[in-house]
């Protein structure tokens, strides 16, 4: 399976993402610059964390109009897995590919530590390698991860099982502790925590690995059955 790691000016988790795919999973990964206009040769799209365009105006607001984002939208429409982590999640909400918005953390602090998450929906292409309700330990590193959406949107997310991860404990003010959500179709996931930083015991844990394994497993199965 071949992944594109989209690199915006100011991305800084692109190396971790590449490492997770290439070295820990043994799959193909390529860095793709933000002005690329063709993603058709990739099977999965990864939007890494960082501070694209300095987070000027709002986090993700400027990156959302990068040339590559039309291609990301096309990939999402084609049903390819699209995963946005941290700044990648912020970009996906700004682009309207996921509902809601990420506000400044309620205590105004940039929080960088490992937190516990609950897998709220293990029946997605990103989480089928986790158990439903499983508690996992994944690092967070953000100042604007306070998920906000209006009541109607929240109810819609809830009713459709689109809330994929929640924080075991509130620390940033996110609505109902939402840490990660998926689109209705189930192929676009945005999350603030960093699974790509939890792929090796050497760096403190492997609870992020099943997420990447899930994507690959799903892709393999769908491509074998179509062969």
């Amino acid at each position: 399976m071949k992944f594109a790691v989209i690199v915006f000016p100011g991305s800084n988790c692109d190396l971790d993402m590449y490492h997770a795919i290439k070295d820990e999973l043994g799959e193909e990964a390529e860095y793709v610059w933000h002005d690329t206009h063709d993603l058709s040769s990739y099977d999965g799209i990864l939007l890494p964390g960082g501070f694209s365009y300095g987070d000027y105006l709002r986090a993700g607001a400027i990156a959302r109009f990068s040339g590559v984002m039309d291609e990301v939208r096309k990939a999402a429409e084609a049903g390819k897995p699209v995963l946005g982590i941290c700044n990648g999640f912020q970009i996906l909400t700004e682009a309207g590919l996921l509902p809601g918005v990420l506000l400044r953390n309620k205590d105004l602090k940039f929080t960088c530590r490992t937190v516990s998450l609950k897998v709220e929906n293990a029946n997605t292409l990103f989480t089928n390698d986790y158990a439903q309700g499983e508690e996992i330990r994944i690092p967070v590193a953000h100042g604007e991860g306070n998920y906000y959406c209006d009541d109607a949107t929240y109810q819609h997310l809830k009713d459709n099982n689109q809330i994929v991860f929640t924080y075991a404990e509130d620390f940033n003010g996110s609505r109902n502790n939402v840490a990660g959500i998926i689109n209705e179709r189930g192929n676009v996931l945005g999350m603030m925590p960093h699974p790509e930083r939890a792929v090796s015991d050497l760096i403190g844990g492997t609870d992020g690995l099943p997420l990447f394994r899930s994507i690959v497993k799903q892709w393999r199965e769908s491509h074998v059955s179509h062969a």
Binding site: L57, R58, A61, V101, L103, R104, K106, C149, D150
Partner: protein, 84 residues
Amino acid sequence: MKKVKVYVTLRESVLDPQGSAVMGSLHKMGYGEVQDVRIGKYLELVIGDSERDVDALVEELCSRLLANTVIEDYRYEIEEVVSQ
């Protein structure tokens, strides 16, 4: 040429922790009468002569990029600028 002043403010329903922190500081400084502080953004644009309707243009800029209407409202003022 026109000068456009755009004010982007957080919607009432959205908490503003920055505003709260500033209000806390004002209270500590002794300005107890301050009841609320909300922080927004102010942008100034200079728009060159165009065949497009300037109102429609500014509306589009605001809704597409300058404000995120999920959490923010915007308003603007357009002034005629006489070029030198």
